[in-house]
Amino acid sequence: MAGDRRDGRIVIVGASLAGLRAAEALREEGFTGSLTVVGDEPYPPYDRPPLSKQVLLGHVAADTTGLPMRRDPDADWRLGVRATGLDPVDKRVVLAEGESLPYDRLLVATGTRARPWPNPREAALDGVFTLRTRDDAAGLAERLAAGPQRVLVIGGGFTGSEIASACRERGLEVTVTERGPAPLVGALGGTLSKLAAAMHRNNGVDLRCGVTVTALRGDGNGRLTGADLSDGSRVEADVCVAALGAVRNVEWLAEAGLAAGPRGLACDAGCRAFDMYGIVTDDVFVAGDVSRFPHPLFEYQLLSLEHWGNAVAQAEVAAHNMVSAGPLRRPHLALPTFWSTQFGLNIKAVGVPTLSDHVVIAQGSLEERRVVMVYGYRGRVTAAVTVDMAKSLPYYQHLIETAAPFPPVPGAADRPIAAEIPVPSDVPDPKGLSHGPTVALTGHLPDRRLTVVQPTS
């Protein structure tokens, strides 16, 4: 049995970036058995980051972002088919039509979906969007091209900020509402969020922080006309995008007895899922946004990431471990990394900025709009964020990987640390934000606020 891990039946549920890269990696690792990939969208794997950038700008159509294959994984693609259940004892994935797929090993890569506007009647108004899928982007891009009077973006996270940026670049009037004190504050902390707010305002965004949208209003024909805000004001808008973060696609695992919940499906560092008792399975693996995994550099807390690079790296490790026997398995230790392009700035991050108590500007300055911000926690470097200084990032990645002391000594910089004095990182409690966190530490540290999951708000 142990010798034939390269044969048998593997089912991957999730036909996006992680599912595709895992399928390719399984063949690269020598898997010769049958491979089935199930995806609920009717499209082959496509790239999502361009949907909030190139597609909304009108540079490319939403149906052209298909992902290239590294190699043909020779898989049976079951697209437009939703997995609705899992029987881990009989080892079957149940599909929406009632059919079930037997497996020897399973990879869960079902990712996330956009958190919908909580009021279904208001969410159904013509002109109200979320942005996660190719179809979402096609619909929103079409509406933006038609020249709406004003776009209302609810939530000042990365997606909301990128949408606002694209709208302004198209010359459209935009209002952004954010329950927290500034855009991006949940991901990057107080100092950089002030830069983010300035970028919004300098580019003509009507930015309203510290407010929530209490109701969306429509006319008699079911068309959006505007929104009521918690400060008593009203915004007239004919397009609204709810950018409220993501919801993990775990509902289909509800009866499977696995450690699946609102923060994702928990797994070990080898991508093996835990069952509901915390016992590791050996035939159910997880990769991508739906996973929740321990990381030694971040106090072994379970991390939930919504990062492109993590989907790729974790899929490769999961595939390797699915076809490898115990001692040959690898841990998934890649550092979290992400990027965002908005208002002409390139923001990149490595590590976990929210695991921080202080920050220091290591290179550049906020005034120049070129800056390296280093984040520290209990005297060690835990993250770095660059704004238009991406070439410096690998140096700080090395500091994080080696648990270097914080504040860092000058190294990549050709002069002393730009601002000598660390200031509090000022990462707010995610409960106070409009959007969910894209990086969430979900373990327990006695001196830290815990991330509290609110199913609806």
């Binding site: 361009p50 049976d76 700035l345």
Partner: protein, 69 residues
């Protein structure tokens, strides 16, 4: 053919922007925007861009053509 750029890896050297400006554009100082679908008349330029990328962030390949159902 399709491309995807690993923007985690991209450091904004912009060699691709010089070699295939119809496919790759800078957005600001170092943000990269690109067209995933490569027209045939741009293929050779995109191949050169992929080869020239200092951090080897550009992947060129065929899209999945779904068989079966």
């Amino acid at each position: 053919m399709r491309i995807v750029v690993d923007l985690t890896r991209c450091q904004g050297y912009a060699q691709c922007v010089f070699l295939a400006p119809e496919v790759f554009q800078l957005h600001g100082e170092e943000g990269l925007l690109y067209s995933s679908a490569v027209p045939d008349d741009q293929l050779e330029r995109v191949r050169q861009a992929a080869a020239a990328c200092p951090v080897q962030a550009i992947l060129l390949g065929e899209e999945v053509s779904a068989r079966g159902r």
